[in-house]
Symmetry: C2
Subunit: 219 residues, 2 copies
């Protein structure tokens, strides 16, 4: 939203005589570093070097390192608007629609870098100050939960999140092959049923009373 693009992508080498999109260059470099190394391991100096400018310029444009981080987090999608649409048509097929939304967002480079920056940085630290907790997670969790009918909404929602966050880790963060390169349709075919089951499958058993395995698991 700020100045994510407008620059011809990539990091142009050489010196820009007048005053081109220096701010955009810095922001792009910052996103790249935050996404790849997290907040702590990212240095203003490295960002500046990567953008081909002086470290002081970074402060000049963005203020503190925290401000730069926040600027780099501008995400071009709003989960609070998109997620409810998934459930508008009912619970039937919602697993697949949710997964498709999830994939379309993460496959978009403009969205992936800020998201990676957020995830990578948040996973590095513990506790309640986590941005991931208060930010995106709430923006995604709440819409899903409010769309679920049963009193088991919390469990179902978080099971869905567990599978999706697992995809984030393996496919986008660790880039495990061949899963990272698996075509979208294949992934949908494999994983959508899982999400759908978490969303609307009957409870395996009254929770808290079973002392042996639930019936859902064979053997």
């Amino acid at each position: 939203m700020t100045a994510a693009d407008g620059a011809p992508a990539g990091r142009g080498r050489g010196r820009r005589p007048g005053g081109p999109d220096t701010r955009g260059q810095i922001l792009a470099a910052a996103r790249h570093s935050f996404a790849g190394k997290g907040f702590g391991a990212t240095t203003i100096r490295a960002v500046a070097a990567d953008a081909g400018v002086d470290p002081a310029l970074v402060h000049h444009y963005f203020g503190s390192k925290d401000d730069l981080f926040l600027a780099a987090l501008e995400i071009p999608v709003d989960p609070r608007r998109l997620v409810p649409q998934v459930f508008e048509a009912g619970l039937d097929g919602a697993g697949e629609r949710l997964l498709r939304l999830f994939l379309s967002v993460w496959e978009d480079p403009h969205a992936r870098l800020p998201l990676l920056a957020l995830v990578r940085s948040s996973l590095g630290r513990e506790g309640d100050e986590s941005l991931l907790r208060q930010g995106i997670l709430r923006m995604i969790l709440e819409p899903i939960r409010s769309a679920l009918p049963t009193d088991e909404a919390d469990h179902r929602m978080q099971l869905v999140i567990s599978q999706m966050s697992g995809l984030v880790v393996t496919r986008y963060l660790l880039v495990l092959e061949p899963l990272a390169s698996m075509p979208r349709e294949d992934l949908v075919a494999w994983v959508a049923p899982t999400l759908q089951r978490y969303l609307d499958a009957p409870l395996p058993r009254e929770r808290g009373v079973a002392s042996s395995a639930g019936p859902g698991a064979s053997g």
Copy 2:
């Protein structure tokens, strides 16, 4: 297995007199910090303060910060021995057995802290130097893969990993409630069928050729 155990667990113990378990104190504090804050955010000084000793002592016992980290990673289980056992009895019910093994390891405090340290620190950095990649992941991935019959072993294995790593993130790293407190049996009832499906369900479709959704997903 340097000196991971031998000490009577908890960090409150130890004789004070001549040569108490100072080394153990330091190691426990280090594990705690690495598990909670990752490698970068952990400082020798903080570890020393937490253990109630001088920073120089840390270096005296463990050398560099890297050495301390490696010492803190001693994990009291060996996946290369345990995972194959899961598949010895055949693929039937392997999903549940694998999940139970996974849970029993992560619910053990002696194992959870080093594992968290490893995961948290590895997720903070990108690229091939990741310890998670070369270490535990390989130790777990390989045994699973070698136990699978089909030529789709890679995909199946990584889908399994995606769900399990999602549990790591939501249950043990972010500690999302109520999932983090969900009884083990409930979790097995919910998630084991997912793993089992990834392990032995027929292929949703020949991969790479489908241009619309696979049959596994409704809608």
